[in-house]
Symmetry: C2
Subunit: 500 residues, 2 copies
Amino acid sequence: MDIMNWSGLRLERSNGEALYLQLASALADAITCGEIGAAERLPSERELAARLGLSRTTAVNAYRELEARGLVRGYVGRGTFVCAGIEREGAPFAWRGKVALGAQRTVDPSMRTFSRYATDPRMISFAAGAPALDLFPIDAWEAATNRVLASAGHLAHAFGPTEGMPVLRTRIATRFGVAPGETLIVSGAQQGLDLIARCLLDPGDVVVMDRPGYLGAIQVFRSAGVHVIGWDIVRADPDELEDLVLRYRPKLLYTNPTFNNPTSRTLTLPERRDLLEVARRYRLPVIEDQTYREMWFSTPPPKTLLELDRQEGDGGIVIQVNTFSKVLAGGLRLGFVLADEAIVDQLALVKQRTDVSSATLVQLVVADLLASRDFDTHLERLRVEHLRRRNCLLDAVHSIQLRGSLVPSPTEGGIYLWCRLGQGIDARYLAQVAATSGVGIVNGDLFYPDAGDRSGADEVRLCFAAVHPDRMGEGMRRLEQAIGLARSNAGAFTSAGTIA
Amino acid sequence: MDIMNWSGLRLERSNGEALYLQLASALADAITCGEIGAAERLPSERELAARLGLSRTTAVNAYRELEARGLVRGYVGRGTFVCAGIEREGAPFAWRGKVALGAQRTVDPSMRTFSRYATDPRMISFAAGAPALDLFPIDAWEAATNRVLASAGHLAHAFGPTEGMPVLRTRIATRFGVAPGETLIVSGAQQGLDLIARCLLDPGDVVVMDRPGYLGAIQVFRSAGVHVIGWDIVRADPDELEDLVLRYRPKLLYTNPTFNNPTSRTLTLPERRDLLEVARRYRLPVIEDQTYREMWFSTPPPKTLLELDRQEGDGGIVIQVNTFSKVLAGGLRLGFVLADEAIVDQLALVKQRTDVSSATLVQLVVADLLASRDFDTHLERLRVEHLRRRNCLLDAVHSIQLRGSLVPSPTEGGIYLWCRLGQGIDARYLAQVAATSGVGIVNGDLFYPDAGDRSGADEVRLCFAAVHPDRMGEGMRRLEQAIGLARSNAGAFTSAGTIA
């Protein structure tokens, strides 16, 4: 509705109610009945006053009244906007009017939903990315915990330094060939990405990242208010990367080059060198996510970008994000960043006000584990078991009756099977039907970062590592049923252009 | 330097070097030698080109070259700025050119420094806020851990839901009289504040908070790019609060009303009701931090704002932030938010992309502890011991020779002694001298939120709970020595107007 030419507005100067309240009520009615839509910008107080022949004070007070009722929200320098509806019926306080513009940039609850699937006993979840948790080294963990508690006592629960406990930083530094000062302990890789975004990005900046790429990175970048541009990680063409850098002048490149989430694609050594050459030419910081690097089946992957940059270049252009979520367990919330000391220092300044420091005990226990053989023994067992589970899931996929409806890409490590759906099945719709059938999968469109990109509609991601082989057959039966349902509705879905 | 009238610039069209490189080098020299200062805004590419009679492309390329060298950074819509120096000598990659404007809003490392003091064995630290950690219920904790591991096995390490483990949410809900859906588990109160800021505040907004008030809150708000306005928490005048609300139209009020950090001031029941009345009148969300509430000595404090709002008002206007950091240990990184379900849901959406969820095991162990008598028994022991330590520190303060140089305010709970320094001693300078004497204290100016406010220069905060009574005498001797040094330099310091 064009409020400036709004014929429905009738204000009575003599009816005893203040004009600003009459104006506020009329606008409130228009918002409530939808005549003025959510997120619509209202005219400025000055414009409104001039148009209606009212004093500016009346317009100002009317907007304050609407703000107090939670219907609109003013943003400095941008104007006054109608609020989105987040309220349940009958809520005593209108929180929908209080949510910031920045928080509304991403409201996709997918990651939260996948976490819920993982703990829902009714679900067989191929959705959340997790290792074979039933192989978690319970005995070694308890032994390490006991050693730590015996030596540290109550100090195992004291606040630690923001950068992390020195013993863990030292062990990680040794393992990955960097200096202790070049490590930062974080509460999972997701926090590492969030800190990097807060440290290096301002709203309006551009980042280039894998396409398709990690959903959690897309969400971090979107919520930072930056433009996200995809670089085709499957083709991995350095000329395309250079074109994107020249065209968009990104502030950083994010890539997950080893057993990429979601495609399981691994950049070869020459591809890594090409990528670094482009990054160096334009002095473009590279954030490499090495979450899946240890999870190879038979052949270790090429050197990391961090290693290559330090061994073959000047070093310093790469920040590595890594985590214990896939090599031990996600519930530990323990990850680390490897980078130049100058940037570790900046990230720690941001972390200090975000959560002060990461939990102490888990750092000491993992440091103890890293010093023993137990950690590497566990990794070896995990590799064998993950390969078995990948094969088991491939068998199950091949055994389902609807041939051609689910075609997996090759996977030589990591924890994901990236599959193409047969014609006519929409991945988003299938994921919804699958959830109601008791099986969790992730629709591919979530991994495409560019705004308005319609790719991924025929792709899905299955995590093979977290489901016990005994349950994979049942999981595939449920998925087969869901595919049947989704296929039979495919025509209706496509023609209607919406999800039933 | 006014670059637009810069006589030092000489470009040679015929010397074989591209003009943009000559221009970049000249500007780089001016930046390096300080003629153009850090954070200075350069003229727009268009202006510069016009002024120097160059093509716009030359100016654009020169700025890109400077950006590539890490000397300037462009911000969409705001222009190009000279970077701040964060680089160590000889760093291979110029990270200082990559740090975002948003990250430069707060670079105060105080919180990080206090955490370091706490783990430095050479220091006696009255700086960081921590309880009597030596009373940590080690046996009860281990028993709870064993029960959890025996029943949950490897699932004690699985990813949990973003909102928190259901068993802990339920136990907290029962303890604090809310519904489980009205709880959100966070990684400490600091994360709770950070999530609230990201959810409710946009850059340019205003918040009102305690003056003096919690340093971590000041840092969160500053880094969110909002204007922070102080409300005098010691006077606690509702008319002043109303005036601030009318004048600045804040998006929220943050207060720490029980054993306030740093003053230990507790708002009385009538003061709480007055505060809520103002908040309700202007529909102003209230963030109440109840970190210290359980830490009373002899008399339990008045009802929380959340309780009062629900029992006497419509409810819903208060968000409570709370933590186990002071009642158990800071290194657990476990806190919680109590609020309307609508806002818990919004906060969880933000948390999902920040760190996915909080660690699982610690949630299960604390849930187990809360169900036993062990937790309340621990609280009772802690109250007795904290009172003993307050008395012990008061005795030590009174025993030092420089009478009148350190005058504490009354403290009936919490963990802090807020002290006024004698004339002529600058708190910031004293804190520096004290650190070199092996004793940690916090200078008062850090707790004053308003930009440019020079208050707190004669106040310091001492945490009495974390230092064992056996070491308090020695701590005070070191502080006495530092005060002597600071006083003897007071004249020189004051006249110079800077820290020696």
